[in-house]
């Protein structure tokens, strides 16, 4: 009844352009931000951060990145895991080489390095499209993981072949290494996520986003209107890889603490993030969040349900979990091929008319 734009008049194009044109949406957005920044940090413990919040935030960043490339610019990529590895190994090398510089800069520079690598592997997209491009990015995935396993310089010749995040702090608070407090982990991931989501939203609603979507929807028409396909595709690869690189850096430095390329950033990571954006909704910022939440929360909820509530043995529950999550994905995609974002849109459209649907 309150969820509608009637009476909420827009008198300038600035008002009309805003992300949440409906008053209730705007209020909801600020409430979510307030709770996330000012309430949850005081209550989180290790379990909540490590099994839900940290992976959700980090995967949401990766999903935003892949959604920019695949959902907005229409370039399929299966190299997400590889690009996350680039972010992780870059941030590791930087942390070790320049211990005095703040880790926030390390993470951002790692994103920049990943962007450059992403552009290099994105070059084939100028000639090939669709499945063929997917195969080319798959090559990037395998090559990058192989590179980080083979060249010992990347893991500083450590005997185990692993990289371990040294202890670093931001504003006097430890954010990496084994002594990190739960709320610090939570906060650093949250800040990166909120800032990057805001950037993603700005880019996709502006001219850059229109160029990307033009290339996605009809590349020939886009070019005849004046979109330079080279610049549009490369900027999509660069921005997307930046996001994925930051996600990889945080995944290693803040969340895992120790990583090994093949194990932490293998092809399954690529598919996991791809599932997230397909389930969440291609070409939607909200969809990236929804998809990441779905894929992170689903196994946790199932595990609690099967083991905790129903008392099944852990091994059986672990196997069943795969089957149930897989089944849910299939059922879900048949029912709503455009993902959670589309469900959300439909709900909102119905809500706007409720309770008088005519």
């Amino acid at each position: 009844m309150f969820y509608r734009e009637a009476g909420d008049f827009k008198t300038s194009y600035r008002d009309d352009n805003q992300t949440f044109p409906i008053r209730l949406d705007r209020a909801g957005y600020w409430i979510v931000l307030f709770v996330a920044f000012c309430v949850i940090p005081f209550f989180v413990n290790d379990y909540w951060v490590n099994s839900i919040f940290a992976p959700f935030f980090i995967y949401a960043i990766a999903a935003l990145g892949l959604n920019i490339l695949t959902g907005y610019a229409g370039q399929v990529s299966l190299g997400t895991g590889g690009f996350m590895a680039v972010g992780a190994y870059s941030v590791y090398k930087l942390m070790v080489a320049f211990p005095d510089i703040n880790i926030v800069f390390h993470v951002l520079i790692a994103g920049g390095i990943t962007a450059a690598v992403g552009v290099a592997f994105g070059l084939p997209s100028l000639r090939i499209k669709g499945f063929y491009l997917a195969v080319a990015t798959l090559a990037a995935q395998f090559f990058l993981v192989w590179l980080f396993n083979k060249v010992a310089w990347f893991y500083n010749y450590s005997a185990s072949g692993q990289i371990n995040a040294p202890e670093r702090s931001v504003l006097g608070v430890v954010v990496t290494g084994p002594n990190t407090e739960a709320w610090a982990k939570y906060m650093i991931c949250l800040v990166f996520l909120v800032v990057l989501a805001w950037v993603a939203r700005n880019l996709t609603r502006g001219m850059t986003g229109r160029k990307w979507m033009g290339i996605r929807d009809m590349d020939i028409a886009a070019e005849i209107i004046g979109v330079n396909p080279l610049m549009a595709k490369m900027s999509a690869f660069a921005v997307s890889s930046f996001f994925v690189g930051v996600a990889g850096a945080l995944f290693f430095a803040v969340y895992l603490g120790a990583a090994e390329a093949g194990e932490s950033f293998g092809i399954t990571k690529s598919f996991l993030v791809l599932f997230m954006i397909i389930i969440g909704g291609l070409g939607s910022i909200f969809g990236s969040f929804a998809g990441a939440a779905f894929m992170v929360l689903m196994p946790v909820i199932l595990k609690n349900l099967l083991v905790g509530t129903m008392g099944w043995p852990t091994e059986i529950a672990a196997e069943l979990e795969f089957i149930i999550v897989g089944g849910l994905i299939v059922i879900f995609l048949i029912l709503e091929p455009h993902g959670l974002a589309q469900l959300w849109r439909l709900t909102k459209e119905k809500l706007r008319l409720w309770p008088f649907p005519h």
Partner: protein, 274 residues
């Protein structure tokens, strides 16, 4: 009243001023392998005029439009635009020179709203960089608002206010055609190419579209080159007509001249081979 159509500029019977030559095509030949799509065609388009290209199916009209918009590279011949010879260019570079076009089969961006589609038409008017757009402050926001205003003018002009925020994929055919025209018009082109703007429309929609084309030409002084099959529309709208058949030019002149040209009559009505 007779007018000297070779003069630098002249005034038409309905009082519009036709300026000097904007686009001059000289001896264009286009081949696809062994097939000659366009054979040694020359014609010009003058500022402020409505220029029609007509001809039977497969005559090479769309190929001609694709040559003008830089999508095909002719094997021979030169394209002169605003008094200078155009070098080899990619289509997006041609667009930057002030050329816009619509397509025979609508080529809109289905996943975007009508407004976003039209805003895309203005991309050559905006030059904020990626970082400015990322933070959405200063130049990026200012540009966005200014260009929104320009788009709203086009939206008003083409009477599509009510579908502004609708995704294009949901629109019916006639409206899609109109949105595509809006997108081309938003670019404020110095030459607008329309590839069959009335294809598949009913009489009422055709009348609307004709009115828009005339108004565009009249109010914004847009130079228009169009391909059309509806002879009534072509003869009513255009100042000069080029007739093509089998890749060759068989007529060029005012609608009246073309109507009485024996070659044109033969091409359209057929000729007995005896």
């Amino acid at each position: 009243m007779t007018t000297d159509m070779n003069a630098d500029s002249y005034v038409t019977e309905d009082g519009r001023t036709i300026g000097p030559v904007v686009m001059d095509l000289k001896n264009i030949t286009l081949r696809f392998g062994g097939v000659v799509a366009i054979k040694d065609i020359s014609f010009d388009i003058r500022e402020g005029e409505i220029r029609a290209i007509i001809g039977p199916n497969g005559a090479g009209k769309s190929s001609m439009l694709n040559v003008i918009s830089g999508f095909y590279k002719p094997q021979e011949g030169e394209v002169w635009f605003r008094g200078s010879k155009r070098p080899q260019m990619r289509p997006y570079q041609v667009a930057r020179q002030g050329l816009a076009r619509t397509f025979q089969n609508i080529a809109l961006f289905d996943g975007m709203t009508v407004l976003d589609n039209i805003m895309t038409g203005r991309l050559n008017k905006m030059n904020s960089n990626l970082l400015q757009q990322a933070i959405w402050k200063g130049k990026a926001e200012k540009e966005e608002l200014e260009n929104r205003e320009a788009c709203e003018k086009v939206i008003d002009f083409l009477e599509i206010q009510h579908i502004r925020k609708t995704p294009v994929g949901r629109l019916p055919y006639g409206l899609k055609k109109r949105v595509e025209l809006a997108r081309a018009l938003a670019a404020e082109p110095s030459l607008l190419l329309l590839d069959e703007p009335m294809a598949g429309m009913n009489v009422e929609e055709k009348e609307d579209m004709s009115r828009f084309i005339l108004d565009m030409n009249d109010e914004f002084g847009t130079t228009i080159a169009l391909i059309e099959h509806d002879m009534g529309v072509v003869m009513d709208l255009s100042d000069r007509v080029v007739v093509m058949d089998y890749g060759k030019k068989i007529g060029d002149g005012t609608p009246d001249e073309v109507r009485n040209n024996q070659d044109v009559i033969d091409a359209y009505l057929g000729v007995s081979h005896d």
